[in-house]
Every structure is written in C-alpha cells, then in structure tokens.
Symmetry: C2
Subunit: 276 residues, 2 copies
C-alpha cells in the first residue's frame, strides 16, 4: 500500500540534485565494502544459480518487495534483478526510493522467479501500463515461479497470468481476483502449480520463506529464517479483517474504496479487450 | 545481516551510468503519481508532526529499516528522513540501493524517533565511524525515542546510548550488549525508558508496531497493522536459536564468528577511549 506526499517531492528534488551533479563516489563506496560476506560459507550443495526478477514501479509498496528480497537475496549463487521500465530511480512511498538494476528489455529472458509487489494508485497505474503487462506476459510465460505479494496479484491477474489459478492478495484485493479469472483463496500464501501469491504487504516474508523451501534443502530455509530471526510476535492482533475491531476495519475499507473502484474499472476495460 | 557480491558491483556500475547521465525524469515521475493517498482520510486527531530519522550506512540490512519504515511512514503528518553521511546512494545488500534524504548535518536537530538498523561487516564499520558515533550521540541525547533493530543496538551501544539500559539485539548480538554497558534481555522487543530495541531483522516490524502504539491511539496502530495484513504465519519454526535444529544453529553461528570477533575488538577499543 502506498501513500505519497510532499516529503516525496522534497526527496526527489534532493535526489535530482545528486543526479545532476553526477559526482557520487559510488564505486568507492562499493570497493571499500566488506568482503563477500557470511553466505560465502554456504556449502556448495546449497548453492544455485537462479535468475530472480523483482518488478518495481512508481509507488510500489516497498515492504512488499523488500521483505521477499531478504530471503531471496540469501539464495547463494542466485542473481537478483530489480526490474522496471527504465533504470531511473523509482519513488516508492514516504520518501523511499528504490533503484532498478535492469529494464524490461535487459532483464534475462528466462527467470527462475518473477515477483511483483502491490500498492494502491501505483498498482492501478501498473495494471494500465501496456509495457508492464507485456513484460509480465513475456517473462511469466517461461518463469519457473510466477509470484506476487499484496495487490501485486491483481497486476498478474490483469496480465492474464492467474486465469484459472487459485490465488490470494491483500484482504482488500482478494474479492477482486475473480475479475481476472482467478479463484480467490483466503489464505496467507497460496501455491497453485507454479504460481505463488501472498496476502497483504507483510505476507511477502511468509511467501519468500515458503518459496526458498522449494528452491533449496529445508535446512537452508531454516538457516535463513534463523538469520532473519523470523519468529514474529506482533503486539496487537488486528492484522486481518476478522481480527481487527469492526470500526477499524470499516475505516480501512473506507480509505480503500477508490482503489477498489479503480480495480473494477481496470477489470471492465480488460474484459473488453483481452488479451490486452 | 548483509552480504555483498559482484551483483552489487554490476548494479553500482549501472547506477553510476545513470548518475552520470543526469537525465532521469524524476519530477515527471513524481508529478504523474497518485494524489495524496489513502492516509489523507486519517482523522485530524490521529495526525502528528513527528520528525523521524532512519539512519543508513553502507551494507545496512535493508529489511531492518524498511520493515519499520512501513509502519512509521504511515504516521500521518510525520516526516521521515533517511540519514547518512552524505546523500550519495547507499549500497545495502544483494544489489539493493537505498537513498538518503538528509545528511548528518542537515538532519533535524531534534528527532522524535531515531532508528538504526544492523548488518554484519557494514555494522562493524559503522561502529568504528567517528562521524556516525558523533551523529548518534548528538541526536540520541535529545531524541524522544532512541531505537534500533538487529545489530543496530550494538552501534547504539558503541555510541554510549545503551549504558545501563535493558536492550535486545539479533540473537548473535545479544550476548555482546554487555560489552557496551547494556543489560541483555532475551526478548523480541525491549522498551526501557525511551530506548526501544528489537531483535534480529524481522523484529523491526514488531518494534515499529509497538512504537506507533506509543505515538498514536491504539486504533491507529490497529489500522496500520490491518493495512500491513500483519498476521504472520511462517511455514517453518526455525526463527530463534532454541527452535532451530542444532546443526542449523551451529552453521549460522560459524558464519558469524568473524562478526562476533569484530564486535569484541571494537568494544575493547571503545573501552580504551570512551566516550570515543
């Protein structure tokens, strides 16, 4: 989920200044860095060579993709690509900028994992972006795993990649999955054949852990979970619609009415002109 | 936790090219974005004006700071600053670059929340960086909340900010807290007066949720938890040393021996020349 305000504008101005100067000591900061790090000690049998594409777009919810990135980024031997329409910096939310490392054109043609996160207005824009949909259809047709977090599944759906698949989404998005031919499942992580979808935002951690169990031996996944100290203990119990107080749920739903209407509008358009 | 490899170098080269070109359509991407977003519907009574400083440094573990950022970034009316020694892009891990919005000099003098994340070799470097320690001591002396995630508490400790405080850290770091005068507590989130420390990596989500409960009405925190769909359900149960299989724990500990030795070395130096 996304919100965007004047702080983002301020940050973008600062960043624009930096871009214009072109003098940031990037290579220096890299070469001064630590050696290859603790994952070098991973046994050879636990190493792989996956090509992983994490899709970025303006106002994607950062945690949707950075949660999974923690786990996927520890797949020793794998290569992570942050993919967007260009390598321009991508504004996510509240002043946080994410940096693509590949474009729709330069991203490897055959991916082991394709992952897209969600958001609100930014996600609606992604669902309307022909270049995004073309990229997802192309790589999704061959990727070993086609995955999403939060309302990212609605973008996969719009691209036709969840037609006939069981899937989940952020709780606000789950009832909308059927608009794109998917079968709504009210679970936190849903695997159906090579599609893996996660519920809202924080579900990306659960999705990624479950995915690395499928890519590597269980002991490897356990080790990464231990590194992440992933034994969550939220201090409140309002993480799902059936646990949140009714007034809190009603307010959250009210805030998202525009998003829901937007998805229905996109779906109506999509139905008019599939496969888009 | 951090690891750093050739992919980071590739990414930094790409990014350097972009910086040199100075032509990214940043303002265009901002102005074409969604309107102010769903948090605009937050009632006035739930709005604040906090100044929040999230500290970045080379090879910080991204999820340590992006997890809390999800929650803190939804405090309507608050301003988030990503603070580093300069506004050069900061390499975190596995190709992910984070972008500061303020420097140690330009960051507001009085912060409501100061937050620092952890890592491994990058964190050791931060613990040895006089400018970092000076920044933390200055802002930490006046911040309403001085907070950390993962091994970030060791940096706070090195800066003298946890002396006599109960605190936690990543499980590998908890026994090291006493080197800096802190009292180790084996809990996921520890509050002691205005210090709030979290355990490893993923504990940043729990820390931030608990913190926003203290900054806003409970209903607000519940609403943000619902937006995040933060009802975690990991598919494995190896997130803590006492739950991970012994062989997995032994391997993880082995990978981190260099980090532990480095912290002890920093602590010995710190003891020689406090307050540094």
């Amino acid at each position: 989920m996304v919100d965007c305000d004047r702080r983002t504008a301020t940050m973008m101005t600062l960043f624009g200044t930096l871009l214009a100067s072109g003098t940031a000591p990037l290579e220096a900061s890299y070469t001064s860095a630590e050696p290859n790090g603790y994952m070098d000690k991973v046994p050879a049998a636990w190493k792989g060579n996956e090509q992983i594409g994490i899709v970025l777009y303006d106002h994607v919810t950062a945690l949707d993709v950075i949660g999974p990135h923690y786990f996927l980024g520890r797949l020793a031997g794998a290569t992570i690509h942050f993919v967007a329409d260009s390598i321009r910096p991508i504004p996510s939310e509240n002043g946080l900028v994410l940096t693509p490392t590949a474009t729709f054109e330069t991203c490897p043609k055959n991916l082991d994992v394709l992952l897209i996160g969600g958001g609100t207005a930014g996600t609606l824009a992604a669902m309307r972006d022909p270049a995004m949909l073309a990229f997802l259809r192309d790589r999704g047709a061959r990727a070993k795993w086609v995955t999403s977090v939060c309302t990212g599944s609605l973008v996969l759906g719009r691209a036709g990649l969840l037609n006939g698949y069981r899937a989940t989404s952020h709780w606000i998005g789950r009832p909308l999955l059927k608009e794109f031919g998917a079968v709504e499942v009210d679970e936190r992580v849903v695997f159906d054949r090579n599609r893996a979808t996660g519920a809202g935002v924080s579900a990306g951690l659960d999705l990624a852990l479950a995915l690395i169990q499928r890519l590597r031996p269980t002991e490897f996944a356990q080790m990464v979970q231990l590194f992440a100290e992933y034994a969550p203990a939220p201090s409140l119990d309002s993480g799902t619609p059936d646990h949140a107080p009714p007034a809190v749920l009603a307010r959250a739903q009210d805030m998202l009415t525009g998003f829901v209407a937007g998805v229905r509008e996109v779906a109506a358009t999509a139905n008019d002109r599939r496969p888009g």
